[in-house]
Symmetry: C2
Subunit: 423 residues, 2 copies
């Protein structure tokens, strides 16, 4: 299997100058010492001749502190005012990082979301970016400055501060890279790239040098915490070349999320394995099998703002149906209560469930052209005596719901079955 050579942008001996957006999360800027380390890393990229725009999160712990203060004021803090309070976290970091850069002789200038006009919609606490004005940043870059932008925040058309929701700094970075037409957006985090699976579960797990955008999107939605799913969607929409790197080491070129399915791409059929314990299963058994039942069940859950993931409907023997679905584990009890309340209306024989289940998924664009991948997965699990409770598939992934006690075993077995330890 061919390995892509380290991309030139992260090479020290680079000759071509590039425009890079670097994003550092809360842990990477969690203390004055760490902010100084980030400054050194930024200085190095600049010394290599690149233009650098840096996006930072709030120092770790700060957002939680501010949320706690807000909750002391109001049980459900007013969203507009919560955004006013939360946006301060990133504002502190940009100022400190600018000082740290100046302290080592690197010209730098910080900007809040409103200062570079990161224009968002009005959906406070989960706003979406509409537009970014890149002129101010381009002018600074042209004058040799590092530009530092507060992640996670923007400004509405009415001039209110809006935040993008948890993990929103990743989205800020990708949006800025798109607006600036940057050559690469580098997400610095506490892992050194995207792995075939979590190395804490499978010691043989291997960092991938490249992964396709679609695969990354599936992994993000299936429980991999490396990148926020919205930032991956944004990268897809604007074709932003995205790289995940470690802020803790100076080694390695991380993982490149790419749109080019060229020959250098890794050719494995299955690229990664994701698992997620935040699952609970609900069963509604013996419902009379007539149109509208699924709507009656799922509609009431949607109204309660509970997200349903996997769904199975089995037609039974006596014209009745067994209906099963999964919800986030925190919504298990409320969903059970809801279904028990509907039991008479539905004419259901039984409502029960299980909150000791988990979802294990295999992901890879190669599945499109390789039949039998799902069968291979099911056989491997069967050989270990792992019972599959539910299945859901897409073009490039297969997910199974199993007893959570088998989660690590299933992940290890599948990792070996699909040869993911070998590059």
């Amino acid at each position: 299997m061919a390995i892509m050579p380290p991309f030139r942008i992260v090479q020290t001996e680079s000759t071509k100058m590039a425009l890079i957006v670097q994003k550092y999360g809360g842990t990477s800027v969690g203390s004055p010492e760490r902010i100084k380390n980030v400054a050194k890393r930024v200085a190095r990229a600049r010394a290599e001749g690149h233009d650098v725009v840096v996006v930072v999160s709030a120092m770790s712990g700060e957002t939680n502190r501010l949320v706690a203060l807000a909750h002391e004021m109001q049980e459900f803090p007013d969203p507009r005012e919560l955004d006013v309070v939360l946006a301060t976290g990133e504002q502190v970091t940009i100022g400190l990082l600018a000082m740290a850069l100046k302290d080592i002789g690197v010209p730098a200038k910080s900007y809040t979301g409103w200062q570079v006009a990161v224009r968002t919609d009005d959906a406070h606490t989960k706003a979406r970016i509409d537009h970014i004005d890149a002129d101010k940043m381009r002018a600074d870059l042209g004058e040799g400055r590092v530009v530092i932008v507060a992640g996670f925040q923007g400004v509405t058309a009415g001039g209110d501060i809006a935040t993008l929701g948890r993990g929103g700094s990743d989205t800020s970075a990708v949006a800025l890279a798109a607006a600036l037409k940057a050559d690469e957006c580098q997400i610095y985090t506490d892992v050194d790239g995207v792995y075939t699976t979590d190395p804490r579960v499978v010691p043989e797990a291997r960092r991938m040098s490249t992964i396709s955008f679609e695969e990354m999107l599936e992994l993000a939605s299936l429980g991999s915490k490396v990148l926020q799913i919205r930032s991956v969607e944004f990268a897809g929409k604007y074709k932003v070349r995205l790289r995940v790197l470690s802020s803790l080491t100076d080694e390695g070129e991380g993982t490149l999320i790419t749109f080019e399915e060229d020959e250098n791409m890794e050719k494995a059929v299955v690229k990664g394995i994701a698992f997620d314990k935040n699952q609970a299963r609900i069963n509604v058994r013996g419902v009379s099998d007539k149109p509208g039942i699924a709507y009656q069940i799922l509609g009431s859950i949607a109204e309660a703002n509970i997200e349903v993931d996997m769904i199975i409907q089995n037609v039974g023997a006596q014209g009745t149906t067994d209906f099963s679905f999964t919800v986030p584990r925190g919504d298990y009890k409320p969903t059970l209560d809801l279904m028990n309340g509907l039991k008479a209306d539905l004419g259901a024989a039984e409502v029960n469930g299980d909150d000791t289940v988990c979802k294990v998924s295999i992901v890879g664009v190669g599945m499109r052209s390789h039949a039998g991948v799902a069968a291979q997965m099911f056989r491997a699990l069967a050989e270990e005596g792992i019972n599959i409770q539910m299945i859901s598939t897409s073009e490039i992934k297969v997910s199974v719901l199993i007893d959570e006690k088998y989660m690590e075993l299933a992940t290890r077995v599948l990792h070996k079955t699909f040869g993911l330890e070998h590059a």
Copy 2:
């Protein structure tokens, strides 16, 4: 002596609606509980039918925490970036107070300095307010909302965040009151008004119900910490009716700083006594008495950015001059070093000093038309055996430099001499 009746705006049975700007300092908003108390106080003013604009400081301790973080980045933090960091303190408070008001059913909206266009000059960390756009605030007030504005901060013409320096929130409040043509600007603090002198030194000290703008200006510059001198200057320039009140009690109408010298004004010749231990005296003796000596001495001190307060030049017997002046106590050693360095150039016989001195001042507009007030002061001090080292006077104040061990005694004696314990 006539006492002004409580001003209508602070009366509960008020019938006329007024526009009031209320300012709460760091101690008044120092905890979630205190912010809730401020919300109740604001709600009360609104229930009385007034339009209220609230200006708040950062929660006590927050600005110091942010300054310390900045100093970990740079020995002398970049002023533009320091302002980015410091401005977050007030931004947190405005959001929290808006939540606290909404929680008790009062419509409210918070604004940072840039959101209401508190336009300042470019002098980061000590910017001056040029202009405020009151339209947005008026629209909110018109719709029945309490408007909350972050004190201490504004925005430059170039869109940078700028702060106004320590105590700048008082200035913000006065400037907003001027821009809104408010009926009154109320400064809530941890004392319940302006006193004839510090009650910790003279238990008989009395809260004044009114004080003239000029007297307040002198007291602020002479060491009274109740109001920041720049806010008093601003109030003078724009004729803003200013009142100092306690945020810790619900009683009392505080002290009104007024421009109207009407019959209701208190008629005492001396209104208040200020004292200041932050003084050190430097003596340069036996300098040959020729032109340019004063410039040579004071010019070198000004260059070192040290502020000189009182100055005395005594012509001696043999055509030589003794030159004495005072500086802030923290500058005592550097100033001595500076003078010793100049000693040979100046042809001075001796350089020495004393950093155990203090300044005691009497203030009152009545002095203008009453001769003999200074003489009365000097006699009272002489009768207690207190030696006067230096004297400086203005139209409405007399200051003396004395040994600091007599500071409390001198203050008590003068308080009694001028009958300040009686209204």
